[in-house]
C-alpha cells in the first residue's frame, strides 16, 4: 500500500466537489445577510426536525435488511438497539448505551452470525 498508489486527479476533483456540496448544504441559509426571519409557526415547527432526522436515519438502519422489513426476529441489530435504548432510559447515559448495546450485539453478531 504505497501512499500515492492509485491516486488520480479525477477522484480528487470529485472529492473537492463533495467538499463544496458539504459547505453549500450545511451553510445554505447562513450565506445571505438579508434581514429576514422565519415566521413563528415555522420556527416552532422546526423544533421537530432534530428528532425526526434522528429517527429517519436510525430506525431503517435497525429494522430494515436490504430495504425490506426484517424477515426474522433473529437479528442482532434490533436486539442490540433495544438493549441500548433500555439502558438509556434506565441510566440516561449515552456512553453506557453504546457499551452495553455493543456487549449485546457483538456476541449475537460474531458467534451466532445474526
Amino acid at each position: 500500500m504505497s501512499f500515492f498508489e492509485g491516486t488520480d486527479f479525477w477522484t480528487l476533483a470529485v472529492i473537492a466537489g463533495l467538499t463544496g456540496v458539504t459547505i453549500v448544504t450545511r451553510s445554505f441559509f447562513f450565506f445571505s445577510s438579508e434581514e429576514w426571519a422565519l415566521p413563528d409557526w415555522a420556527q416552532r415547527g422546526l423544533q421537530y426536525a432534530p428528532i425526526a432526522a434522528m429517527a429517519a436515519v436510525v430506525l431503517p438502519e435497525i429494522l430494515l435488511q436490504q430495504g425490506q422489513f426484517l424477515q426474522t426476529w433473529m437479528d442482532a441489530r434490533w436486539m442490540g438497539a433495544a438493549v441500548g435504548a433500555a439502558v438509556y432510559f434506565w441510566r440516561r447515559d449515552v456512553l453506557l448505551t453504546i457499551v452495553v448495546g455493543m456487549l449485546a450485539y457483538l456476541p449475537l453478531h460474531l458467534l451466532l452470525g445474526w
Binding site: 426536525a49 425526526a52 429494522l63 441489530r77 448505551t97
Partner: protein, 244 residues
C-alpha cells in the same frame, strides 16, 4: 469555530465538550469504520485522507464511494451527495436565527462544522435563539466546543481507520457503535409525547420510502413529521380551546 479565543476561553466551550464527551466513542467508532470502508472500497490513502479532512459528511462519503469506484459521472456523484445532505439545509434554516449576529464567514464555518450530532445536541441544549449579546456569545462558544469534540473524534478515528483498514474487517460490525450512539440521542430527545409522535411518523415514512433513490426518504421523513406534528399540535390546541 473552536480556534477563536472568545469561543474557546468561554466557559460554555468546555461545558459543551464535557456534554458531548459521552457521545465521542460512538462518533469515533463510526468514523473508524468509515475510514476502513473508504480504503476497502478502493480509494487510495491520499484520497481517503482528503475525503476525511474536507468532505466531513459520513453519509455522503459512504454514498459516494460505490459511485466513485464504478466511475459514475461526476455530476451524478455530486447530485447524490447533495440529496443525501439535504437535511443539512433544514438544519441551517433552523440555526439561522441563532447565528445571524455573526459575520458571514464565521456563521458559514459554524455551518460547515455542524454535522447531525452537533445540530441535535446544540438545539437540545439551547431550544431557543436569543437577542441578548452575552447569551449569543455563550451559544456560539457552546456550538464551537460541541463541533470541536465531534469533529476531532471523527477525524482522528477516520485516520486510524484508513491506516488500520487491513487489520479491521468491516464484518466485525464495529460501526454499529455509531448507530447505538444515535439510538441514545434519539431516546434523549424523546422527552414529550409530541416529539415521540414526530419520531414515529419520521421512522415510518423513512422506512416506507426507503427504496427512493438518493436517500430522499430522510428529507421526506423530516418534512412529513414536521408538518403532521404541527397540524396535530394545532388540532389539540383548538380542541382544548373548545373544551374550555
Amino acid at each position: 469555530m473552536f480556534f477563536k479565543a472568545e469561543n474557546y476561553r468561554h466557559p460554555a466551550f468546555m461545558e459543551a465538550v464535557r456534554d458531548l464527551a459521552p457521545q465521542a466513542p460512538g462518533v469515533a467508532a463510526w468514523g473508524l469504520m468509515t475510514g476502513v470502508a473508504m480504503v476497502n472500497s478502493g480509494l487510495s490513502v491520499v484520497e481517503a485522507i482528503a475525503m476525511t479532512l474536507f468532505v466531513y459528511a459520513g453519509s455522503s462519503q459512504l454514498a459516494a464511494l460505490p459511485l466513485i469506484v464504478a466511475g459514475a459521472p461526476a455530476w451524478v456523484i455530486l447530485a447524490t451527495g447533495f440529496c443525501v445532505n439535504l437535511r443539512f439545509m433544514v438544519f441551517s434554516l433552523h440555526l439561522r436565527k441563532y447565528l445571524m449576529h455573526l459575520p458571514r464567514l464565521e456563521r458559514m464555518l459554524h455551518g460547515y462544522l455542524t454535522a447531525d450530532m452537533s445540530y441535535v445536541m446544540f438545539t437540545k441544549r439551547f431550544p431557543n435563539p436569543s437577542d441578548d449579546p452575552a447569551e449569543q456569545l455563550t451559544q456560539a462558544a457552546s456550538l464551537a466546543g460541541n463541533t470541536f469534540i465531534v469533529w476531532g473524534s471523527w477525524i482522528v478515528a477516520s485516520l486510524f481507520g484508513i491506516f488500520l483498514a487491513n487489520a479491521i474487517p468491516t464484518s466485525w460490525g464495529l460501526g454499529f457503535a455509531g448507530t447505538l450512539c444515535l439510538v441514545g440521542i434519539l431516546c434523549s430527545l424523546a422527552s414529550t409525547r409530541m416529539r415521540i409522535f414526530a419520531a414515529g411518523v419520521a421512522a415510518v415514512t423513512a422506512m416506507a420510502a426507503y427504496n427512493l433513490p438518493l436517500k430522499f426518504n430522510i428529507i421526506m421523513a423530516i418534512g412529513v413529521a414536521v408538518v403532521l406534528s404541527m397540524s396535530l399540535e394545532r388540532f389539540l390546541k383548538m380542541r382544548e380551546g373548545q373544551g374550555a
